[in-house]
Structures are given as structure tokens and as C-alpha cells.
């Protein structure tokens, strides 16, 4: 059975009158993959039988050609990766969504993988052809309807598109995302440079997944295979991060900071008046880190106070917990220190927003703001040792002084480079621990 552990990194000392407590809580799950791989289905058991997979592929007219062929190949590879016993379905999406497999006339909406189903699914995928527009809300609705027919804890959708969601008002998509939030998880992928990062990010953020760019169609298959492997290794479903804060305090934010930045603050549901639950989806054997900030009333120097209990809850069971403390002191050598973890991830979160705001300003033609924001991003990437971000940023800007963050916008940059920078902006490097 999976086990969780939580470790807290913080400087618990506050100066006289200080109120804000920051901590990075590192949560590690072990033993989740073992259950998932065993393939023994049980009511709560993390088994292959505990996962349902849907692959939704864009079949709009724009996919015609290389993209369609690559997507079909990728879907077939994904089908190969889905372990026997796992419930699955394939969806084709344009301005309407169509169930490709099980065939539309089949009586069961999702079937368990076995060699015969695998061969038949690949045959069905081979018949997909590109035509029509793009209305992603219909894809999500069909996936939701299919998932609703099966009772498994982990429901996972892989969504691939190459274009803008152009056949419906964006409010439709927003409404559908809101409707299906909490029912399944979704990793969204865009191929080529005509899709909109912000659109897919809305989906993947709400549905506790990732967004990424696949620059070349031939890379789709490898990415799909990795997504399926990752999904079926998530042996623990429906994990909540719970944050208790004392009477009279205020939770300023709860933010996942590794492996990616994801602000959870607005996803709070109340467990009791002092405790909020933040959904984190399903877990494999992995470590995720969270930055929690709580504002407590100041206490006299010498006082100690528990500022937060950060707990990992699987269903209603608390599987691990970490304590965030506050101790008021008038010793400035104690209070002036900033926890390296908190400093690092504060910088990484600011880096993500500087990149996104910089690119948005650039797209809007506001070069002055873009230059300032992307300059700050260059500075932060260097400070926090995020080499990947640094190299992506250098494709968009010419760096004059990395330390001071002075840059010039490059002319005629490739759209793909900007999208790559945007999608990767939330990926963080972990803090180096001595």
C-alpha cells in the first residue's frame, strides 16, 4: 500500500510584530506504483483495474496530412501502452465529438483492454479522418459521459489538438471545464504552432494535469506513451492537501511549486471552519512540493504558535502531516534568515508569472512591458538556476546583463519558441539541498 511522508522547510522565527509565516512542504509518495502494476483490482486497491483511460484526438479539418497521420499513430501507441484490464475508449473530436472505439454501435461505452480489443481499437483509429471545426467542450462532455459509466477511482483523459477552439464561444469551454472539474484528470497537448497555450492551460490546470507543446508530429507517439505509463502508475486516487490554520488566521496562498507551479488557493473546499482541502488528483511514486503562506495575529516575543498543519488526505484518511510553526523572537540573527526552499520557490513562481506576463505583453504589442517582464525572468532564471528557462528565454530575447535583467526583444522569433517558453514556464527546478 502506498505511503506518504511530509517534510516542512521554513524559518519559524518571526520578528516582533511579524504576522506572515511561509513554509515549503515536500510531500513524497512511495509504494503507489507497486499496486498499480500488480493489476489486481480491488475496491480501493490501486490496480490497473483502478484506472480508466480516454484518448481524445483532434480530427478537425486542419489536422489533414502529417498531423492526422502522426496523431493516429500516437493513439495506436497509447493503446499499446494501456495495460490489460484497464478500461479505455478513443474519442475523435472536431466541432462535435465521436466515440471511435468502442464503436459507436457497441453497447458498452468503455471496455477493458485485452489483446482482441487492442487490435480492434487500432483498426478503428486507422479509420479516423480529418474534417470539420474545433469545439473542445464537446470532447470534454463526451469524455465525461463515458467516464460516468465506469466506477474506478482514477479517470484520465489525454487530449490532443492542433488548433484554436474556434467553433464555439470560449464561454462554452469555460462552462464545460467547470462542469467536469473534479470528475477526471486531463493532460492536454498541442501539436504545431496554431493552437493557443492559454486555452489548453485552462483545461489542464482545472483538471489537475499538464499542458505541453509537441513541436514535431513524429514526437506525439513517445509523449502519449509516457502519459499513459505515468497515468497507470498513479496508484493512489483522489489525494487532497489539507491545510489547517488557527482561529483568527488567514491562509494567504497554497501553491504547488514543484514539479510545476500551480496555484491551488482558489480550489479550497472546507473540511471544517479551520481546515481547507485542496485537490491534488492521483499520485504515483513521486515528490511534490507546496508553498503555504499563513497570516497569524502577532504574539509577544517568546511565544510559540502552530501556524499550519499541512496534511495529505487520501479519501478521509490523513496519511501524513507536517507542522508549520511560528516563534517570535527579538534575535535578528534568527529572524532575518529566509529558508532557502521558500526563497527558491518564491523566485520560481515569480519566474513563471514574469514569463507569462512578458509573452502576453509581447503578443499585445506592448514591447516596453514585455522587455521589463522578460528581463526580470532572465534575472530570476539565473538566480534560481533554472537553466532550461534560461535557454528558452535566450531564443526570445538578447541578454545584455543577466544579473541586472536587462534584455532586448529579438526580432522575428519563431512562434514555436515562444510557445515552448510559455508551456514550460510553470516547470520548476528543485532547490538544491545541502
Amino acid at each position: 500500500m502506498a505511503e506518504f511522508s511530509a517534510e516542512v522547510f521554513q524559518n519559524e522565527f518571526l520578528s516582533d510584530g511579524a504576522t506572515d509565516v511561509h513554509a515549503v512542504v515536500s510531500v513524497t509518495c512511495t509504494g503507489a506504483g507497486a499496486g498499480a502494476a500488480a493489476g489486481t483490482a480491488g475496491p480501493a486497491g490501486p490496480a490497473a483495474g483502478g484506472v480508466a483511460e480516454i484518448v481524445a484526438v483532434d480530427t478537425s479539418g486542419s489536422m489533414q496530412g502529417r498531423n492526422m497521420e502522426a496523431a493516429k499513430h500516437a493513439a495506436a501507441v497509447a493503446v499499446d501502452q494501456i495495460p490489460d484490464g484497464t478500461l479505455f475508449a478513443i474519442v475523435g473530436g472536431s466541432h462535435v465529438a465521436t466515440r471511435i472505439f468502442p464503436y459507436p454501435n457497441a453497447r458498452v461505452p468503455m471496455v477493458a483492454m485485452e489483446p482482441g480489443a487492442r487490435a480492434e481499437a487500432k483498426r478503428a483509429i486507422g479509420t479516423m479522418s480529418a474534417s470539420g471545426g474545433t469545439a473542445i467542450s464537446t470532447w470534454l462532455r463526451l469524455a465525461d459521459e463515458l467516464f460516468a459509466t465506469v466506477q474506478v477511482p482514477n479517470k484520465h483523459l489525454i487530449l490532443l489538438t492542433d488548433g484554436k477552439n474556434e467553433s464555439e464561444p470560449s464561454a462554452h469551454l469555460d462552462q464545460m471545464i467547470a462542469n467536469v472539474t473534479g470528475r477526471f484528470q486531463c493532460d492536454a497537448r498541442g501539436v504545431g504552432d496554431r493552437w493557443v497555450v492559454e486555452e489548453l492551460r485552462k483545461i489542464s490546470t482545472a483538471l489537475l494535469g499538464t499542458v505541453d507543446l509537441i513541436a514535431r508530429p513524429e514526437d506525439i507517439a513517445e509523449d502519449f506513451a509516457a502519459l499513459v505509463r505515468k497515468s497507470v502508475s498513479r496508484g493512489v486516487a483522489a489525494v487532497d492537501l489539507r491545510v489547517w490554520a488557527p482561529q483568527g488566521s488567514q491562509v494567504l496562498f497554497v501553491r504547488q511549486v514543484a514539479p510545476e507551479v500551480d496555484d491551488l488557493t482558489s480550489r479550497r473546499t472546507e473540511v471544517n471552519p479551520l481546515t481547507g482541502a485542496y485537490p491534488t488528483g492521483a499520485w504515483a511514486d513521486e515528490t511534490r512540493e507546496y508553498h503555504v503562506a499563513v497570516r497569524v495575529p502577532a504574539k509577544p516575543v517568546g511565544s510559540e504558535q502552530l501556524a499550519a498543519r499541512v496534511q495529505v488526505a487520501v479519501g478521509d484518511e490523513v496519511a501524513a502531516s507536517g507542522l508549520v510553526k511560528a516563534k517570535w523572537s527579538d534575535d535578528s540573527t534568527l529572524t532575518a534568515r529566509i529558508s532557502p526552499e521558500v526563497a527558491h520557490y518564491t523566485g520560481q513562481a515569480e519566474l513563471a508569472s514574469a514569463i507569462q506576463e512578458g509573452l502576453a505583453a509581447k503578443a499585445a504589442g506592448d514591447e516596453a512591458t514585455a522587455t521589463v517582464k522578460l528581463g526580470r525572468a532572465v534575472q530570476l532564471a539565473a538566480e534560481t538556476g533554472n537553466d532550461e528557462a534560461t535557454s528558452r528565454l535566450r531564443k526570445i530575447v538578447d541578454v545584455e546583463n543577466e544579473e541586472e535583467g536587462t534584455v532586448r526583444l529579438k526580432r522575428n522569433t519563431a512562434k514555436l519558441d515562444e510557445m515552448a517558453l510559455d508551456t514550460a514556464s510553470t516547470k520548476t527546478t528543485r532547490v538544491r539541498r545541502a
Binding site: A245, P246, Q247, G248, S249, L274, V296, K299, P300, V301, G302, S303, E304, Q305, L306, A307, R309, S321, L323, D330, D331
Partner: protein, 372 residues
């Protein structure tokens, strides 16, 4: 404890003036020399505590070992912090409460600034008799927490022996009983002094050092309610207040302190009590104490009121009798001494909790006094 010493040693942490030769800051408990093995850590030797009174759960009547939060009254969670307000739960020595009768209760608390609770308290009650003893360990000497607890219990046991259930009951008309209780009070303070000496010798033997080398010491204050009579006895600056519901409040004890000597010499109270040497006490219990006979005072209340026995951790924030009377009346939402004492301790902590805090109360009322 000479006030003449010209060397001005200050605490590196809080800046408080240190008494000459002190090893720990009287204000915050910080070690003033090289950190010794005693700095901030609990004593290795502790005495057994009498069972602490735990409030029964009103819903289940269950008085299990679920501890209450000293700050808000919430429940201390298994992780050691209050489930409501996050205040750390305290050890039984750091925070304990006694309630020997519905009209007698006390709360003894570490406060905010000090690393350990060197205050101690021992209470007893039965019928219209009550004995309340509070001892305040001197923070500048190590192991004073052990000394103060031993002293308070020894004194309480002596006072109980003079009580109605005891072997040498004080009896007779009021004036005779005043004399009897004065003798009892001196016997109690001497026994407390012996207990401190005994604890000091035991500790010295454990640590293999001489008993005269920085011995533990404490103050002593006790009050007895014997029907219509209240008798107070003291050494040092812990206090007894009589706070009648109607009429002027009075402080029955007179501090044995440098500040009190200055007040007696004409220095204004506020000025004397805020001077650096204010807390230097001129009498105490300990192996180096010149004498251990309590000074005594008696009063016969004419109506109901609160008898308060407390350490300076409380009265530092509210020294004169009238202010103390107002404070107690403000927090006495009922005649329950337990909730009132707890509220007084919370109040002192909210003021900064610079010292250990003990508040022991008896609700003296005509029905109680009339029973005799």
C-alpha cells in the same frame, strides 16, 4: 542580593539588568554566562505531581487525559498543539491546575518568556477551610522549579495539619485563632524552607557539587481561610490580596523586596517597581536564607469577595490592590474560582507573559464563612 553593587550586567537577550552573580536572567531566563547544562532545559530531578484536576467533558462526563489548551480552552491535539488556536500544549510542570473545592482553585503557568515554570502552587480545602500556597522559584538559581514545588507542598501539608481535619486544629475565638494560625504559618514556612534545603541537597548530591554553590531558592506566600478569618503569611514578593465585592481592596502581604523598601523610604510606587532592582527580594527560602519565618497578617472579611494568592507574574501587570480588584471582578463572570484563575493567567500571558504566572483564588462568601 545587594543593591549597592555597581557592576551593570545586562541580559544579552532582553537587556534586563541582572542581579550581581546571577547565572540566569530574571526576566527571560536566558543564561548569562557560558551556557551551562541547566540553561533553558528542564531539571533532571522533578518531584511527583499530585493528580491535576481535569475538567470532565460536559457531554460524556469523561475526564480522560485529553488536555485543555491554556490559551483558549480548546483541546490539545495529538501533535502537541491546540486544535483551535495552535498554541503549544504544555507539560504538567509548565501548566497545572488544582481545584480542591468548588470555591477554591488555582492555575500555575510557565508564561511566555521563560523556558520553564519555576512557580509552584499547592492548595487544599474542606468545609469552610482552605489553604493556598504559592512559591516563586528564583530564576537566577538553577533547579528553582524543583525547590518551589517541594516548598509549596510541604507548607500546604503543615497548614492542613492545623486545619479542622488535622492533628493540631486551630480552634477558639477569632483572636485566639489569629494567634494559632500565625504560629501555623511560621511552622509552614519553616517546613517549606526545610523542603527547599532537602531538595537542594538532593540535587547537589546528584550533580556532585556543593549545596552552597548557587543553591535553588524561592519565595513563599500562603493564605488560610478559616471560616470568618483570613490569615496570610509570606517571605519575598509573592502576594495575598483580599478583594471584597464591596469596599476597598487590600494587599494583605507586604513585599520583602528592594522596591518595597524604597516605597517605605518615600519613593513613589510606580518608580520603585519599575527600577532595575525592583525584583531583588530581601527575604526568601533556600539554603542561603538568613531566616525562614513568615511574616503574617490577618483580616476578618465583612462580606463576600475574592481571596487571591499570586506570584509577580500576575501582579507585575496590575500591582495596586484597587486595580487588581477591578481586574478580578472583570474576569469573574461567575463565582467559579477555576475559570476566573484561568482567565487571569490568560490575561497576564496576553500582556506579554514575561514571568511565570500563578493565580490561586478562594471565593469567600457569607454562606461559606457562616458555616462555622
Amino acid at each position: 542580593m545587594s543593591a549597592e553593587d555597581s557592576s551593570d550586567v545586562r541580559c544579552p537577550r532582553c537587556g534586563e539588568h541582572a542581579a550581581p552573580g546571577a547565572r540566569f536572567c530574571e526576566n527571560c531566563g536566558t543564561s548569562l554566562g557560558a551556557p551551562g547544562p541547566d540553561a533553558g532545559a528542564p531539571s533532571e530531578v522533578t518531584l511527583e505531581l499530585a493528580p491535576t484536576v481535569v475538567d470532565p467533558d460536559p457531554a460524556t462526563g469523561d475526564a480522560s487525559n485529553q488536555r485543555a489548551c491554556a490559551a483558549c480552552g480548546g483541546v490539545i491535539a495529538p501533535d502537541g498543539y491546540c486544535a483551535d488556536c495552535g498554541t503549544p500544549g504544555q507539560s504538567e510542570r509548565d501548566h497545572f491546575e488544582e481545584r480542591p473545592a468548588a470555591w477554591v482553585a488555582g492555575v500555575c503557568d510557565r508564561g511566555v518568556r521563560h523556558a520553564r515554570n519555576e512557580d509552584a502552587m499547592a492548595l487544599a480545602a474542606g468545609g469552610s477551610f482552605a489553604a493556598l500556597v504559592v512559591c516563586d522559584g528564583v530564576s537566577s538559581a538553577p533547579d528553582s522549579d524543583v525547590a518551589s514545588l517541594a516548598a509549596s507542598r510541604a507548607a500546604r501539608d503543615v497548614l492542613v495539619a492545623y486545619g479542622p481535619q488535622g492533628s493540631s486544629t486551630v480552634q477558639g475565638a477569632t483572636s485566639r485563632r489569629v494567634t494559632g494560625w500565625t504560629d501555623a504559618m511560621v511552622a509552614a514556612s519553616r517546613a517549606a524552607g526545610q523542603a527547599v534545603r532537602g531538595a537542594a541537597e538532593q540535587l547537589a548530591a546528584t550533580k556532585g557539587k556543593d549545596v552552597t554553590d548557587d543553591p535553588p531558592s524561592c519565595t513563599f506566600v500562603a493564605a488560610v481561610v478559616d471560616g470568618d478569618l483570613i490569615v496570610a503569611g509570606w517571605l519575598g514578593d509573592s502576594r495575598v490580596y483580599w478583594l471584597p465585592d464591596a469596599g476597598p481592596a487590600e494587599q494583605l502581604s507586604v513585599d520583602d523586596s528592594w522596591a518595597q523598601e524604597m516605597i517605605a523610604a518615600g519613593v513613589p510606587r510606580a518608580q520603585a517597581e519599575t527600577s532595575p532592582q525592583a525584583h531583588a527580594i530581601t527575604r526568601w527560602l533556600g539554603p542561603d536564607a538568613p531566616d525562614t519565618d513568615a511574616r503574617c497578617a490577618a483580616t476578618v472579611p465583612s462580606g463576600p469577595g475574592w481571596l487571591l494568592v499570586c506570584s509577580d507574574g500576575l501582579w507585575n501587570y496590575c500591582s495596586d490592590a484597587e486595580s487588581m480588584g477591578e481586574l478580578v471582578r472583570r474576569y469573574a463572570t461567575s463565582d467559579d474560582p477555576h475559570s476566573t484563575a484561568a482567565a487571569l493567567v490568560r490575561w497576564a500571558n496576553a500582556q506579554g507573559g514575561r514571568d511565570n504566572i500563578t493565580a490561586a483564588l478562594a471565593r469567600v462568601s457569607p454562606t461559606v464563612t457562616g458555616q462555622r
